[in-house]
């Protein structure tokens, strides 16, 4: 089965971007709002290349998931600090209103969701893997889609949860959205679940949905491997599971 090439494509341009706002989500994760004139928009789940330029022309580029629902001219990133990293320390510790950088994208045609996909959706997030999944949740709410969405979000402790208030509010106000948090190191005092890494009972089986869901799993590699193994064991088809692994990329 082969596919023909279309006409020669143009390279994606670099867009100048200006920091419009930034705030800490947790002690080590920061949301950065970028004003990007000419930005064409993206699909929920996609990512962008971010390029920083020092005053002598030295550049460094890294890839970050987009956290915001698709829109033109504006992008929101949420960046987890990688201590040994090169770009994330600037975004998390330094970036402030008016700062300039460049973005290129959107990138990624596989790990994405839009309202034309009829299936229910299961989202499985490990740590900052919630970021591209949050773009999907936000987009679903924005367009008023009704596909059942179930987010299972694993974090170290409650204070490592990103978007905690927004997720709480959305789960109460968006019909068909369910959010389950679980903690690997320690939870709240009244937590029914014993803290610990993802267990089979933490993830819904394929028949918990009205139709087999499309599944998006994002997080550190070990988490993604464990989650995918559990999901397959609970009847999900491996072809329905889309993964995005965070390496020790910085």
């Amino acid at each position: 089965m082969t596919v023909a090439w279309s006409s020669p494509p143009l390279p994606m341009p670099w867009y100048p971007a200006r920091v419009e706002d930034a705030w800490l989500e947790t002690r080590t994760a920061r949301t950065v709002v970028l004003d990007v004139p000419g930005w064409p928009g993206h699909h929920a789940g996609q990512h962008v290349d971010v390029r920083l330029t020092a005053d002598d022309g030295y550049t460094a580029t890294r890839t970050y998931s987009v956290a915001s629902a698709p829109e033109t001219g504006r992008l929101v990133l949420t960046v987890q600090l990688v201590t040994e990293g090169e770009v994330s320390p600037w975004l998390v510790g330094e970036a402030r209103e008016g700062d300039e950088l460049e973005v290129r994208g959107p990138i990624g045609g596989w790990f994405r969701w839009d309202e034309s996909m009829p299936e229910p959706v299961l989202l499985v997030a490990g740590g900052s893997g919630v970021v591209p999944l949050m773009a999907m949740v936000r987009h679903r709410s924005r367009v008023g889609a009704t596909q059942p969405f179930h987010l299972v979000y694993s974090a170290r402790t409650p204070d490592h949860v990103i978007y905690t208030n927004e997720l709480f509010a959305l789960a109460r106000t968006s019909p068909g959205l369910r959010v389950d948090r679980l903690y690997t190191r320690g939870g709240l005092p009244d937590e029914a679940r014993e803290p610990g890494r993802l267990r089979p009972e933490d993830l819904p089986a394929v028949d918990a949905f009205p139709a087999p869901p499309v599944v998006y799993v994002c997080g550190p590699s070990g988490f993604v491997e464990a989650a995918a193994g559990i999901l397959i064991g609970k009847g999900h088809d491996s072809g329905a599971i889309r993964t995005e692994r965070f390496g020790p990329s910085s």
Partner: protein, 202 residues
């Protein structure tokens, strides 16, 4: 260059002429895959080679291991911007694999590599010949781990690493180029790290 990012200095670990533009040095070995890691048992592993005339041949795990193995020490470059230097692999030259499968390359210009789970990636045939590509079964002196493509993956280190298909299960010879999985989703059809051919049109 008119953008300057206030307060950004950078790590400047670069300067190593072996690191292509836009890449940084990584000491770990990140895993990147579009789906769950397939479990392929060696006794079930086969590599199917198909020619442009429709002829085909198969190699089993045992067949592959009857072919001469080579030790390869090479740098690898992932499109997500990490590079690893001096990685060690063991595998069989793709040229030897093609002859052992008994499928001629006449009329072929490109190859679509197939992987368990449905992944595909396209390469010019010439890039798989001349001692520049292997079917690798060992990494750093041990059996290749499943998450890194074991039991066997393609190893084409002069291109971005998505071209080195993990869990390789087939080599389909083509009379013309045809995009694979990532190449249909916005990534470059060739993927030369030294020319930074990351995305479509680069």
């Amino acid at each position: 260059m008119d953008i300057v990012t206030r307060g950004f200095v950078g790590r400047r670990s670069g300067g190593d002429p072996r690191i292509p533009p836009g890449q940084y040095l990584e000491r770990d070995f990140p895993v990147l895959s579009a789906g769950p890691t397939p479990v392929v048992r060696r006794e079930d592993w086969t590599l199917r080679v198909t020619g442009v005339d429709g002829s085909s041949g198969r190699l089993s795990w045992a067949d592959l291991h009857r072919l001469p193995v080579e030790d390869v020490r090479t740098d690898i470059h992932c499109v997500t911007k990490w590079s690893k230097l001096d990685t060690s692999w063991r595998g069989v030259d793709v040229e030897a694999v093609l002859s052992a499968a008994g499928v001629g390359t006449e009329g072929a210009t490109h190859v679509l590599a197939h992987a368990t789970g449905g992944y595909t990636t396209n390469l010019p045939l010439a890039d798989l010949l001349g001692g520049r590509a292997w079917v690798a079964t060992e990494y750093e002196g041990a059996s290749l781990a499943a998450e890194h493509g074991g039991p066997a993956r393609l190893l084409v280190p002069h291109l971005y690493f998505w071209k080195s298909a993990k869990w390789v299960s087939g080599l389909e010879l083509l009379a013309q180029d045809s995009p694979g999985f990532w190449e249909q989703l916005g990534y470059h059809e060739y993927g030369d790290p030294w020319r930074e051919q990351r995305y479509v049109g680069d």
